[in-house]
Amino acid sequence: MNVPSEQTPPPVPPAGDPEHLEASASFDADVMAYIRRATQCGLYDIRGMGAKRRLPTFDDLVFLTASASRYPLEGYREQCTSRTVLGARFAKQPIELEIPVTIAGMSFGSLSASAKDALGRAASEMGTSTTTGDGGMTPEERRSSKTLVYQCLPSRYGFNPDDLRQADAIEIVIGQGAKPGGGGMLLGQKVSPRVAGMRTLPEGIDQRSACRHPDWTGPDDLAIKIEELREITDWEKPIYVKMGATRVFDDVKLAVKAGADVVVIDGMQGGTAATQQVYIEHTGIPTLAALPQAVEALEEMDMAQEVGLIISGGIRTGADVAKALALGADAVSIGQAALIALGCNNRCHHDGTDWIDVTDDYRQLGTGPGFCHHCHTGRCPVGITTQDELLEQRLLPEQAARWVCNYLQVLNMEVTTLARACGKSDVHHLEREDLAALTVEAAAMARVPLAGTSWIPGCDASDTGSGS
C-alpha cells in the first residue's frame, strides 16, 4: 500500500530517549546488582528469611464452601473443633494440641532468649507446641513451653539425654526447606559466650554445622536411630522426622518405613536465620507442590491415618492453614510468620510504654522495615534474631507473647470459620474436594480441579473420578 504523500512517518526517537530504552529480561536490574555484588565481594550472599521470589502458593486455591449441595454450620454458634493429635503411631504419649498450628524449630542462637521465651509462652497459652533448634534446649524455653519438641540435628549441639527425657516429642531433622542438603549456619557475631558454651564451640567463630548426622547415614540406619531414641525414652515420646521438600514422595515413604510417628515437610518458602541465598531461592519445591506428594506417599502406604503429617514453609494465614489441612496435613508449622508476629520487620519496637522508631538501625544494616532479612548479622533492630544484650532488651517477652497469641488465635478463628462454611464440625474434616485452583500450575501441584472445570492437569479423568 502506498503511503499518502502528505503523511510523514513517525519520528524515530533519538538515541538514549528514556521512554524507548529496552531493558534485558535476562539481565535485569536485580541480576546486574547480583553480578556487581559478586565482583566486589568474591563470596556468595548469605542472608536470613525464606525465598522471596514469587511462587505458586495456597493463595492460588479457593474453598468451595457450602451452598445448595452442601450444608454449612453456623459460623458463630455451632462448634468446630481444632483439637489435633500427633504421634499416636507408636508413642505411648502422643502430642495433643488445641490448634493445628505449631511453632517451628528455631534455635537459641539464631533467636534471642527473649524471643524463644515469648514463643513458648504464646504456644502454651494457645495449647500448641514449640520446638527447640540447632543449639539445644534452654531452661527458659522448657519453662515457658507446655509442649516442647526437641530437635535431634546433625550438629548435636547441646544434645543430651536429660533434655531428651524432659522433651514432649523428638524431631530428627534431616533437612529444612530453606536449605535442603545444607547444614546450619551461625555467623561469629551471634556466637556469644552463652551460645558458644551450649554448642561446645569457640566463642565468635563462624559456625557451620554438619549437613549429615554423625551416627547414621541412610534410611535403614535411620530406622535403627529411631529405635535407639525410642528405647532411651521408653517408647513414650512421639518421634518426628523433618525434611526439606525435594523428592518428597520417596522421602516420606522412607521416613515412614523407618518408623516415624510424624513426618514434617518444609517447603522451599521455609525460613532460616542464615544460609547462602542460592540455597534459599534455588533448592526445594514450593510447599503447595510438596504437600500433595507427601499425602500421596502416605495414602499409597495406607498410613495416612497412622502417621501424622505437618507441613511448613510460608504458612501465613488461617486460609493457608485451612487449605493445608484440606489437602491432607494434620497440622502446620510456622516460623517466619511467628517472628513477624513478634515484631520482625516492624518500624518500631515497644519499650513497654512507647513505640520507638528504629528505622535508622535498619538503614545501618543496608535495609529498611518491611525488607529486612539480615538475621545473620545479629543486629536485629527489634531484638528477635540477636545475641546482643542491648538489642535483645527491645523485645519484651510477655508483651511479644501476647502478640503471637493474638495471631495464633486469628489463624485458628479463620480455620474454623472456613471449616464451618464447608459444613465441617472438625477442622480435620476439611478435604481436597472442598478446594478449587485458580491457576493451571496450582491445579497441577495441588491436584485439585481448575476452578470452573473438573480438570486436574496431569491426572486422568479416571484417576479423579470425574469426567471433563
Binding site: 544434645f159 563462624d206 554423625p214 551416627d215 535403627i224 535407639e228 528405647e231 532411651i232 525414652t233 517408647w235
Partner: protein, 230 residues
C-alpha cells in the same frame, strides 16, 4: 537381692532390658548386670543413668550404650555403628573391634576400644576421651569439637577434617590429614595426656612416640580465597 542380675537376650527383649535399666535399676542395690547372647542386637544399654557395671558377653549391634551417663559398660565382642554415641559420662569399653562412628558426639566419659575402629571414629566429639588400641578408618575425628582421641595404631585418610578444639594423638602412620588439620609438636603436657589416657584405658604404648594433630583454625571464619584448598 543379689547385687548381680543376669539377662539372656535369647529369652528377653532389648526393650525389657532397657526398661529395667531405666525404671528398676536406679535406686536398687544392684551393681552389676550381665547380658548374655546379645547376638548383634541394637540399642543395648542406651540411656543408662546410674553407676552400674554392665557386661555384655558377645557381639552387639548399633548404638550400644548410647547417651550413657555414669555406667561402666563392657562389651566382650565386636560392636556395630556408633557405640557410646553422645555419651555424657561413665565408661564404655569394647574388647573387640568397633564399626563406624564410634563415640560420635560424645560429650564426656571414656570410650576404650581394644581392637580397630572403622570410619568416622570420634566424629563430632564434644568432650569425651576416646582411646583406640588399633587402627581407625577414614574421616576419623571429623568436626570434633572438644575432647581427646588417642589412636595407638594407624589413622585412615582425612584424619581430623574440620577439627575445632579436640586434639588427636596417633601412634602409627597417618594416611592423610583432613581440611584444616595439622600436625603440631608434642609438648610435655601432650605426652602426659597420652600416658594418662593409655593408663586409663589399660593399653600399652610409648606415649612419647605419638604425634599430635589439632586444628589450624583457618576454617573458623569465612575465607573466600581458600578455593576449597584448606
Amino acid at each position: 537381692m543379689s547385687d548381680t542380675v543376669s539377662f539372656d537376650l535369647a529369652q528377653v527383649s532389648v526393650r525389657e532390658l532397657n526398661r529395667y535399666f531405666h525404671s528398676e535399676l536406679p535406686g536398687s542395690e544392684v551393681t552389676r548386670i550381665s547380658v548374655q547372647n546379645p547376638n548383634g542386637r541394637h540399642s543395648i544399654g542406651v540411656g543408662l543413668d546410674c553407676p552400674v557395671e554392665v557386661e555384655i558377653h558377645g557381639h552387639a549391634g548399633y548404638f550400644i550404650a548410647g547417651m550413657n551417663k555414669q555406667a561402666k559398660v563392657t562389651v566382650h565382642g565386636n560392636v556395630g555403628w556408633s557405640v557410646g554415641e553422645n555419651m555424657m559420662s561413665g565408661e564404655v569399653r569394647v574388647n573387640g573391634h568397633a564399626s563406624e562412628s564410634a563415640g560420635a558426639s560424645a560429650h564426656g566419659g571414656l570410650l576404650a576400644i581394644d581392637g580397630d575402629a572403622s570410619s568416622r571414629c570420634g566424629i563430632s566429639l564434644k568432650g569425651g576421651n576416646l582411646v583406640v588400641a588399633g587402627d581407625v578408618g577414614h574421616f576419623s575425628a571429623f568436626m570434633a569439637q572438644a575432647g581427646t582421641m588417642v589412636v595407638c595404631g594407624n589413622a585412615g585418610a582425612n584424619l581430623g577434617d574440620s577439627l575445632y578444639e579436640a586434639v588427636v594423638y596417633v601412634g602409627g602412620a597417618i594416611d592423610s590429614l583432613g581440611a584444616d588439620a595439622r600436625e603440631e609438636p608434642m609438648e610435655a603436657t601432650d605426652v602426659e595426656a597420652v600416658r594418662g589416657l593409655l593408663a586409663e584405658a589399660g593399653f600399652e604404648g610409648d606415649a612419647g612416640s605419638f604425634r599430635r594433630v589439632a586444628s589450624a583454625r583457618s576454617l573458623y571464619h569465612w575465607n573466600a580465597e581458600a578455593h576449597q584448598e584448606y
